[in-house]
């Protein structure tokens, strides 16, 4: 086994066990902290895939902002959900079965697909993906519309959530 494979397996195992804790732990603040670890693992996966920009954005946006927001929300609403009560609803068994079926199904599909054995093409060191990304995001022939629409979407989210959460 090569070093890269070992690193991938460690990262994947860490991420998946943290994700398992996220969906099973009783204490929601713990769940959020496990979520931070999961998100960090996903960032490490992005590094392994050479998507370095997305890796740091993952940490900045998900850990630095989304996870913080989740923890704030948990703490603002903690009173009613004391940690002693069960956190799962009546049909968790069905949910677990469904998750399992989904995973097995995807794995089956992957086994038959031809894409399975694909190997990484070599990266061209002269081409910086960040520059590439910067170009296509504002290029009228590429993704300028999604880019601006995303910004409008975020503006709408800002306005909407302030209206909803603001009490006056």
């Amino acid at each position: 086994m090569s070093g890269l494979e070992i690193v991938f397996l460690i990262v994947a195992a860490m991420t998946l066990s943290a994700a398992f804790m996220v969906v099973t732990t009783q204490n929601l603040v713990h769940g959020a902290l496990w979520l931070v670890l999961t998100l960090f693992g996903v960032a490490a996966t992005f590094v392994l895939l050479n998507a370095t920009f997305l890796a740091v954005v993952q940490v900045v946006v998900y850990i630095g902002a989304i996870a913080i927001l989740l923890i704030f929300a948990i703490m603002l609403t903690r009173k009613v959900m004391q940690d002693s009560t069960s956190q799962t609803n009546a049909n968790w068994i069905v949910a677990a079965l469904l998750g399992l079926v989904l995973f097995v199904g995807i794995a089956q599909l992957l086994r038959k697909s031809s894409a399975v054995g694909m190997m990484m093409p070599a990266m061209d060191a002269a081409v910086d993906p960040v520059v590439q990304l910067g170009e296509v995001l504002v290029s009228p022939n590429a993704y300028v519309l999604p880019f601006e629409v995303a910004s409008v979407l975020l503006l709408a989210a800002l306005i909407g959530s302030i209206v909803v959460a603001w009490k006056k």
Partner: protein, 118 residues
Amino acid sequence: MLDNWLYIGLFIIAAILIPAVAVILPRWVAPRKPNAIKQETYECGMETVGDAWVQFKVQYYIFALVFLIFDIETVFLFPWAVAYDKLPMFAVMEGVIFIAILLAGLMYAWRKGALEWA
């Protein structure tokens, strides 16, 4: 290129391991005599009243919210700044429009009073 990230990975291990040793070391050096009063949560010497959980202002959440939106929008400007040499004036203006939309969001939050502390 992955070598640089290997260094960062090793740096993460070192940056966690060495302070961890510094925290664990006093377990042997320092005395360890816990008692009920010492372990009480500190409230300026008074007896602890109630739970640690108190009602928080929703304002904390609003600031985190505005931050989240701004943070993600700013992050997307970074590739734009990096590719600056290759962009025509039109694309630069696209970025400026993006920033202007950001400014509009700020103005909205300001006018709505969401940025007031009181």
